[in-house]
C-alpha cells in the first residue's frame, strides 16, 4: 500500500505541476511579441538575431556545444592549478577528462570518477554544474526548434536566443526553487573542505561535503544525473531524507513531462501532446510496476541463511523506504537522468531490466527536450505504418511522411541500436569489457550492456560494479555519448526541416487522427516493436538469464 501511495504522490503531483510549467515553457520559448525587451536583451547578449533554417540552427548548436566541451575540458585539465580546491584534488587522466567532458556536454553525466574523490569545487560548479544547465538548455532549445518546424513556422528560431531562454527563463528559476527546498530539507551548501571527525569509537573519519544543494537541484531537473558524490543520490548528504528523496524524484520527471506539454502547445495541438503524454506515462507506470514488484523479492544470495526474507535491501538506503529505490531506478532511466537512489547493480535481476528498458526506448518522457524528440522518431514511424493502414499517403499533422523522413527516422533508431549492441558485443567478447566486470555470469554481461545502453541513451547511470575508469571504456563510451547526443537531435531537426518545405495538407475524417486512443495504441505498439524487440536477445542474455538461472 505504501508503495502505491508513494508512486501516486510523486507522479501525480509532478504531473499536475508539469501542466502549468509546460504552458509557461511554451510561452518562454515562444514569446511572440509578448516580451520584446527580454528577446532584445538576449539578442544583445549573444549578438545573434533572426530566424534560422534547420541547418543554421544545427550549426549554431554544434558551435556552442563545442565551446561547452572546450571550456569544461580546460577547467578539468587545469583543476589542480585553479582556486576553490580546499581539499587539494589533483590532476585527472586525459582519457577520464575526455570521457567526463563528453559525458556532461551531452547531458549524459556518466561518471567514471567519484566526485568527492577527484573533483575540486571549481570543477564541480564551473565545469560540471554549468554544463548541467546549458546541456539541458540545448535539449529544450532543440525541442522548441523541432516543434516550430512541425508547426509550420517560417524558421526554426535562433539557437543562441533559445538556449538563453531555456537557461535563464526555465531552468534557472525552477532550479532556484528546488535548491532552496533541498536546503530547507537539510542538504549541505558550503564551500568548506572536508570535515575531520573523531568518532565515538575514536577513529578518524573524513567527511566530504561541499556546495551540494545547488548542484543537486539542476542535476535532477536537467535530466543530468551526475552526482556531487560518487554514489549519487544514495549518499546521505546528497539525499538526506525520505522527503528530499521524494522531491528529487519529482525533479527528475518534472521538466521531461513539461516538455511534452510545451511541444503540444508550440505545435498548436495540446490534445496531441496529451496523447503522447499518456503513451509515455503508460510505459512509465508499467516499468514502475515491474521494478517495484520484482524488488519485493528478497536478496537471492541469502537463501538458506537465517535472514528475514523481506525485500532486497542491498544497495539501498533505509530512509527512502522500500519503494524509493526501485521507483527512482525507473524514473531516472525512463528520463535520461541517470542519477541513482539505489545501486542499480544490486537490484534484483529482473528489476535491473526495467531501467534498461527505459533507456532502450529513451522516450518515455526521456531527457530534457530530447525525450520528446526521440518520441518524434517513433511517431514518424508509427504515422507511416498507420497512415498506410487507413489508406492514405501517411501524414503527420498535415505533413506528408515520405522516403526522406522515413530514412532519417530509421537511421536514428538504427544508430541507437548499433551503438548499444555493437559496443556491448565488442566489450563483452574482449578483455576490454570482460576483465572489468565485477559480477560473474549474466550479471557481468548486464554490467557491460547497461554501460553502453546508458551511454547511448545519454543517461549516465550505471551498474557501477563495472571497473569503467579505463582507457578503452573512457574512449568508447565518450564517443558513443557524443554520437548518441547529436545524431538524434540533428536527424529529427532535418526531418522537421524537410517537413517545413512541403505544402501542408488539410486534415479531415479521412486523415489519421493523432489525438485519440487508437493512435496511442499504434504508437505504443510501434515503440515496443521498433524499440524493445531490438534489444530482446541482449535482455534475455543479461537480466532474464540471471533470473532464470537462479536456484529455486
Amino acid at each position: 500500500m505504501d508503495a502505491l501511495f508513494l508512486v501516486a504522490a510523486v507522479l501525480g503531483i509532478t504531473a499536475l505541476l508539469s501542466v502549468p510549467l509546460g504552458r509557461y515553457m511554451a510561452a518562454a520559448m515562444e514569446p511572440g511579441d509578448a516580451a520584446p525587451r527580454l528577446t532584445r536583451a538576449f539578442e544583445r547578449i549573444s549578438g545573434a538575431r533572426g530566424g534560422q533554417g534547420w541547418k543554421a540552427y544545427v550549426v549554431s548548436m554544434l558551435v556552442f556545444n563545442l565551446c561547452m566541451f572546450a571550456l569544461c575540458f580546460a577547467i578539468l585539465a587545469l583543476q589542480q592549478h585553479l582556486p576553490m580546491n580546499p581539499d587539494g584534488k589533483g590532476a585527472l587522466s586525459l582519457d577520464l577528462i575526455f570521457n567526463t567532458t563528453a559525458s556532461f556536454t551531452t547531458n549524459t553525466n556518466l561518471q567514471h570518477y567519484s566526485g568527492e574523490v577527484s573533483m575540486s569545487y571549481l570543477s564541480q560548479l564551473a565545469a560540471l554544474m554549468w554544463l548541467q544547465f546549458v546541456s539541458a538548455a540545448t535539449g529544450i532549445a532543440a525541442l522548441a526548434a523541432l516543434a516550430r518546424g512541425i508547426a509550420g513556422r517560417a524558421d526554426m528560431g535562433n539557437f543562441l536566443i533559445d538556449v538563453q531562454r531555456a537557461s535563464f527563463l526555465i531552468l534557472l528559476p525552477v532550479a532556484l526553487v528546488f535548491a532552496v527546498v533541498l536546503v530547507l530539507l537539510g542538504l549541505p551548501m558550503t564551500f568548506q573542505g572536508a570535515a575531520q571527525a573523531l568518532t565515538l569509537e575514536g577513529a578518524v573519519q573524513t567527511i566530504a561535503r561541499g556546495p551540494v544543494a545547488a548542484f543537486v537541484a539542476i542535476k535532477q531537473l536537467g535530466t543530468n544525473g551526475g552526482g556531487f558524490f560518487g554514489p549519487n543520490s544514495t549518499h546521505p548528504l546528497e539525499n538526506v531524507s525520505f522527503w528530499s528523496n521524494a522531491v528529487e524524484m519529482g525533479a527528475i520527471i518534472l521538466i521531461p513531462m513539461s516538455c511534452v506539454w510545451m511541444f503540444g502547445r508550440i505545435i498548436g495541438r495540446p490534445r496531441h501532446g496529451a496523447v503522447i503524454f499518456g503513451v509515455m506515462a503508460t510505459f512509465l507506470l508499467l516499468t514502475i510496476a515491474g521494478s517495484v514488484g520484482f524488488e519485493r523479492a528478497p536478496t537471492a544470495a541469502f537463501a538458506g541463511l537465517p535472514i528475514e526474507a523481506a525485500g532486497n535491501l542491498e544497495g539501498k538506503e533505509m530512509r527512502f523506504g522500500a519503494t524509493g529505490g526501485p521507483l527512482w531506478a525507473v524514473l531516472t532511466t525512463a528520463t535520461s537522468n541517470g542519477s541513482v537512489g539505489a545501486m542499480h547493480d544490486s537490484l534484483n535481476p529482473m528489476t535491473g531490466l526495467m531501467p534498461m528498458l527505459g533507456m532502450w526506448l529513451n522516450s518515455t518522457f526521456g531527457g530534457n527536450g530530447v525525450g520528446m524528440i526521440n518520441m518524434f522518431l517513433y511517431i514518424v514511424v508509427a504515422v507511416f505504418v498507420a497512415g498506410m493502414m487507413v489508406g492514405r499517403t501517411p501524414e503527420y499533422l498535415g505533413h506528408r511522411i515520405e522516403a526522406r523522413e522515413v530514412k532519417l527516422a530509421i537511421l536514428a533508431l538504427f544508430a541507437h541500436a548499433a551503438m548499444i549492441l555493437g559496443g556491448t558485443a565488442l566489450f563483452a567478447a574482449t578483455p576490454w569489457g570482460a576483465d572489468t566486470v565485477l559480477n560473474a555470469g549474466p550479471h557481468g554481461f548486464s554490467e557491460i550492456l547497461y554501460e553502453f545502453t546508458s551511454a547511448s541513451a545519454n543517461n549516465g547511470s550505471g551498474f557501477e560494479g563495472l571497473g569503467d575508469n579505463t582507457v578503452p571504456w573512457n574512449v568508447a563510451t565518450g564517443l558513443v555519448m557524443l554520437a548518441a547526443r547529436f545524431i538524434p537531435i540533428i536527424l529529427p531537426l532535418a526531418i522537421a526541416g524537410s517537413l517545413m518545405a512541403k505544402r501542408r495538407s488539410a486534415e479531415s475524417a479521412g486523415t489519421l487522427g493523432v489525438e485519440d486512443a487508437t493512435f496511442a495504441t499504434m504508437l505504443t505498439i510501434t515503440i515496443v516493436i521498433f524499440g524493445a524487440l531490438t534489444f530482446f536477445p541482449a535482455g534475455v542474455l543479461g537480466p532474464v538469464a540471471e533470473q532464470l538461472s537462479m536456484p529455486h
Binding site: 514511424v381 507511416f384 505504418v385 498507420a386 497512415g387 498506410m388 493502414m389 487507413v390 489508406g391 492514405r392 499517403t393 501517411p394 498535415g398 511522411i401 515520405e402 522516403a403 523522413e405 522515413v406 530514412k407 530509421i410 537511421l411 533508431l413 538504427f414 541500436a417 548499433a418 549492441l421 555493437g422 556491448t424 558485443a425 563483452a428 567478447a429 570482460a434 555470469g441 557481468g444 554481461f445 505544402r503 495538407s505 488539410a506 479531415s508 475524417a509 479521412g510 486523415t511 489519421l512 487522427g513 487508437t518 493512435f519 495504441t521 505498439i525 516493436i529 521498433f530 524487440l533 530482446f536 536477445p537 534475455v540 542474455l541 532474464v544 538469464a545 532464470l548 538461472s549 537462479m550
Partner: protein
C-alpha cells in the same frame, strides 16, 4: 457495360508461368530491386555453402542444415513467385493486346499519294485514311469525316461510337475498327507511345516504377533489416561472453525469420495487383502514383449531369400563367415538342399524353429546330407560332407584356428553387407558362455521398445550372457544396483554391476545355470518349465513360495502401513469436534456465528453429491471395479503419505465428525431421 473478367487467382497456366518467373528472378540483378529479399538470398547462398561444407567434412548436423537451406531458398522463391504471379496475370492481358497491335497497317496520305505502311512507320503529324472495316493504325484526331467506330478492343464495349471531326468526339485510338463510313485521322503520337502501347506496358507491369510510398516503405524495411543485422551480428560475441557459441546456420535462420520477408516478398505483387484491379475495373491509370493519389483525395468534383442526376431531365409539371387555361399551355407544349426527339422533348409529350392530350398530327406545320443561336424550338402551324425554350432566350423573341413576364419569372424562379429547369412556352407574343423539367437524382447517390463524408471526402457538384437550381439539387443529392454556372475557368480556379488549402482534388471530364482542369487536378479521370487533349491531360482514363466510378477509384487507391500497411504490420508483429521460438532454442545451451522462455513448448531446439523458418516461408504463399485481392475495405472514418486493421493484422500478426509455429513444430517433430 462493364467487362469485369473474373480471373481466378490461380490458373494452371498462370501458376506454371509464375514458377518459371520465380526462378528467373533469382538473378541477383533482379533481386537487388528488393533489398530484403536480396539479403535473404545472400544469406541463403551463404548457408548453402556451409551446408555443402558440412556434407563434405561430415561435421555438423548436415540433415538439419539441409532442411534449413531448403526453406531459406523457398522463402526467396515464394517472394519471387508472388511477384511473377501478379505480373503473369497482367501479361496474359497484354499478350492479347499485343496481337492486335502487330497486324496494324495504315493508309498514309501524302499530298495526293496514298501508301500503305506499317503502323510503326507512322509518326506524329501523318495523316491516314481509314475506311470501313479497317483498324485505326495509330492514336489521333479525326480531321475529316464521320464514322462509327467499334472500340471493343479497348473498352470491351461492343456498341459502336460515333467519331467525327471537330468537337469532343474527335479522338480515335489505335486498334479500334471503323465499321461504317470513313475518316481521315491526323496521327498525334510517335510510334510506341500510343494508348495501346501504354496499356500493354501497364498491364504487363514492365514499366512499373516504384511509387514514392513504395520507396519509403522499402527504406523502412531495409532499415529494419539493418537493425536486425546488428542484432544477429552481435549475438556471437554475446555468446562468447557466456562461454559458448551459436552455429552460423542458426544465426542465418534467426536473421531471415526476423527481417520483414513477408511484406517484402509481397510488396510488388500488392502494387501490381492494385493496378490490375483498376484495369479490370476498366480504368487505366498512367502511373502507380496516380492510383495512390486517388486514396488521398479530399475533394471530389463531380459533374451533375450523368453523375449525380440521370442524364436526361424529365418534364414533371405544366404551370400556366394566371389567366391562361392549363389546357392551352399543355396543348402548346405538346405541339412544340412533337417533332422534338430530345429526351426532354419526348418527356413533355409523354407527360401531356398522361394528361389526356391526344394531338398527334402536325400536318402543314413547319418545325422550328433548336439552334445554339436561338436556343428555342417550336412549331409554326397556321397563324400560330409556338415556341419553347430557356426563359431568357424565349423572352428575347418578342416584347412581351411586362405583367406576364413578371408572372412568368415568379413561376420559373419557383421551379428553379425546387431544383428544376423551367422551360418557357409562348404562342407568338402570348406567354402561356412554363414546363417544369426535373433533374432526377440517381438513386443511391445520397448514401454514397454520406459514405464519402464519413471517409472525410467532400463532394462538390459542378453544374452549368443557375445557383438556385444547383442549390436545390445539391440539397437533394446530399453533396457538400456546388459550383453553379460553372465555366472551365471556374473549375480550374476551384481546384487551385482547394489545393492551396492543402487538399487533393479529383475530377473527371471529357471535353477539350476540361483539359486544364484535368491536368491541374491530383487525380483527373478522362472519359475514353473524350477528346485526345482530355485523355492526355488526365492521369487516368475510364474506358466505360462512367463518371460515377471516381468514387470507386478512390476506394481502390485506399485499398492498395491499406493492403501494404496491413501486411507490413502483420509481418513485423510476427517477430514477437519468432523470438520466443528461436531465442530459447539458441540460448538454452548457454543458460539452461532460459528453457522457461520456450512458452510454446517446442519439441527441440532444431525443431523450433526449423518451424519458425518454415512458418516464415509458408506465410508468403498463404498471403498471396490477400495481396492480390487487397484487404477488405469499407468506407469509414480513418480512426475506425485503423482500429480494425490494427486488430486484425497487428494482434493477428502477434498471435497467429504462435499457433502456426506450434503446429509446424508438431508436424516436424512428428515426422522426425528434427
Amino acid at each position: 457495360m462493364e467487362r469485369r473478367v473474373a480471373t481466378s487467382l490461380f490458373t494452371t497456366d498462370l501458376a506454371a508461368a509464375a514458377v518459371r518467373g520465380a526462378l528467373a528472378k533469382l538473378d541477383p540483378r533482379v533481386l537487388w530491386r528488393n533489398p530484403v529479399m536480396f539479403a535473404t538470398g545472400v544469406v541463403a547462398a551463404f548457408a548453402t555453402i556451409l551446408f555443402v561444407r558440412a556434407l563434405v567434412t561430415g561435421a555438423g548436423d548436415a540433415g538439419f542444415q539441409g532442411q534449413l537451406v531448403f526453406w531459406l531458398w523457398l522463402t526467396v522463391l515464394f517472394g519471387n513467385f508472388a511477384e511473377a504471379l501478379a505480373e503473369g496475370r497482367g501479361k496474359a492481358q497484354a499478350a492479347a493486346l499485343r496481337s492486335t497491335k502487330a497486324e496494324l497497317t495504315g493508309v498514309r496520305l501524302t499530298g495526293d499519294t496514298r501508301e500503305t505502311v506499317a503502323a510503326s512507320a507512322l509518326a506524329a503529324g501523318d495523316v491516314v485514311m481509314v475506311e470501313t472495316g479497317a483498324l485505326i493504325p495509330a492514336d489521333g484526331e479525326v480531321i475529316e469525316g464521320v464514322a462509327s467506330v467499334n472500340e471493343a478492343a479497348i473498352t470491351g464495349e461492343s456498341a459502336p461510337v460515333i467519331r467525327e471531326a471537330g468537337g469532343d468526339r474527335s479522338a480515335v485510338t489505335a486498334g479500334t475498327r471503323v465499321i461504317s463510313d470513313w475518316i481521315k485521322v491526323r496521327v498525334t503520337v510517335e510510334p510506341g507511345q500510343g494508348f495501346l502501347d501504354r496499356m500493354i506496358a501497364l498491364v504487363e507491369g514492365s514499366s512499373r516504377a516504384k511509387t514514392p510510398n513504395e520507396i519509403a516503405l522499402t527504406i523502412l524495411l531495409t532499415g529494419l533489416t539493418l537493425i536486425f543485422l546488428v542484432v544477429i551480428a552481435t549475438l556471437p560475441a554475446f555468446a562468447a561472453y557466456a562461454g559458448g557459441s551459436i552455429a552460423v546456420p542458426v544465426l542465418v535462420a534467426l536473421f531471415v525469420a526476423l527481417i520483414p520477408t513477408t511484406i517484402s516478398a509481397l510488396l510488388s505483387a500488392i502494387g501490381i495487383a492494385g493496378m490490375d484491379r483498376l484495369v479490370r475495373f476498366n480504368v487505366l491509370a498512367k502511373s502507380g502514383r496516380a492510383v495512390e493519389a486517388a486514396g488521398d483525395i479530399d475533394v471530389l468534383l463531380l459533374d451533375k449531369t450523368g453523375t449525380i442526376t440521370l442524364g436526361d431531365r424529365q418534364a414533371s409539371e405544366f404551370v400556366a400563367l394566371p389567366g391562361i387555361a392549363q389546357s392551352d399551355l399543355i396543348e402548346a407544349a405538346l405541339l412544340a415538342s412533337l417533332a422534338d426527339e430530345t429526351p426532354e422533348g419526348r418527356s413533355i409529350v409523354a407527360l401531356a399524353r398522361e394528361e389526356g392530350f391526344r394531338t398527334t398530327t402536325t400536318a402543314g406545320a413547319a418545325v422550328v429546330a433548336f439552334t445554339a443561336q436561338t436556343r428555342v424550338s417550336g412549331i409554326d402551324t397556321g397563324d400560330r407560332s409556338i415556341r419553347k425554350g430557356a426563359v431568357d432566350a424565349l423572352l428575347k423573341l418578342h416584347d412581351h407584356d411586362p405583367q406576364a413576364v413578371t408572372a412568368l419569372r415568379r413561376i420559373t424562379d419557383r421551379i428553379a428553387r425546387e431544383g428544376g429547369t423551367p422551360l418557357a412556352v409562348a404562342d407568338g407574343i402570348r406567354l402561356l407558362g412554363a414546363v417544369h423539367l426535373k433533374d432526377i437524382v440517381k438513386s443511391g447517390v445520397r448514401e454514397r455521398f454520406a459514405e464519402l463524408r464519413r471517409m472525410g471526402i467532400r463532394t462538390v457538384m459542378i453544374t452549368g445550372d443557375n445557383p438556385l437550381t444547383a442549390a436545390a439539387i445539391a440539397a437533394e443529392a446530399g453533396v457538400d457544396d456546388f459550383l453553379a454556372e460553372a465555366t472551365p475557368e471556374d473549375k480550374l480556379a476551384l481546384i487551385r483554391k482547394e489545393q492551396q488549402g492543402g487538399r487533393l482534388v479529383a475530377m473527371c471530364g471529357d471535353g477539350t476545355n476540361d483539359a486544364p482542369a484535368l491536368a491541374q487536378a491530383d487525380v483527373g479521370v478522362a472519359m475514353n470518349t473524350g477528346t485526345q487533349a482530355a485523355r492526355e491531360a488526365g492521369n487516368m482514363v475510364d474506358l466505360d465513360n462512367n463518371p460515377t466510378k471516381l468514387i470507386e477509384i478512390v476506394g481502390l487507391g485506399k485499398q492498395l495502401l491499406m493492403t501494404r500497411g496491413a501486411l507490413t504490420t502483420f509481418s513485423i508483429s510476427n517477430d514477437v513469436a519468432k523470438y520466443f521460438a528461436i531465442l530459447p532454442a539458441i540460448f538454452v545451451v548457454l543458460y539452461p534456465g532460459l528453457d522457461t522462455l520456450n512458452v510454446m513448448r517446442l519439441a527441440s531446439p532444431e525443431s523450433a528453429i526449423l518451424s519458425a523458418v518454415i512458418f516464415n516461408a509458408l506465410i508468403i504463399p498463404l498471403l498471396v491471395p490477400l495481396a492480390l485481392r487487397g484487404v477488405a475495405y469499407r468506407p469509414q472514418p480513418a480512426g475506425r479503419q485503423l482500429l480494425r486493421n490494427l486488430g486484425i493484422y497487428g494482434v493477428g500478426g502477434i498471435v497467429s505465428p504462435f499457433v502456426g509455429i506450434k503446429l509446424i513444430d508438431l508436424a516436424v517433430s512428428g515426422l522426425g525431421l528434427a
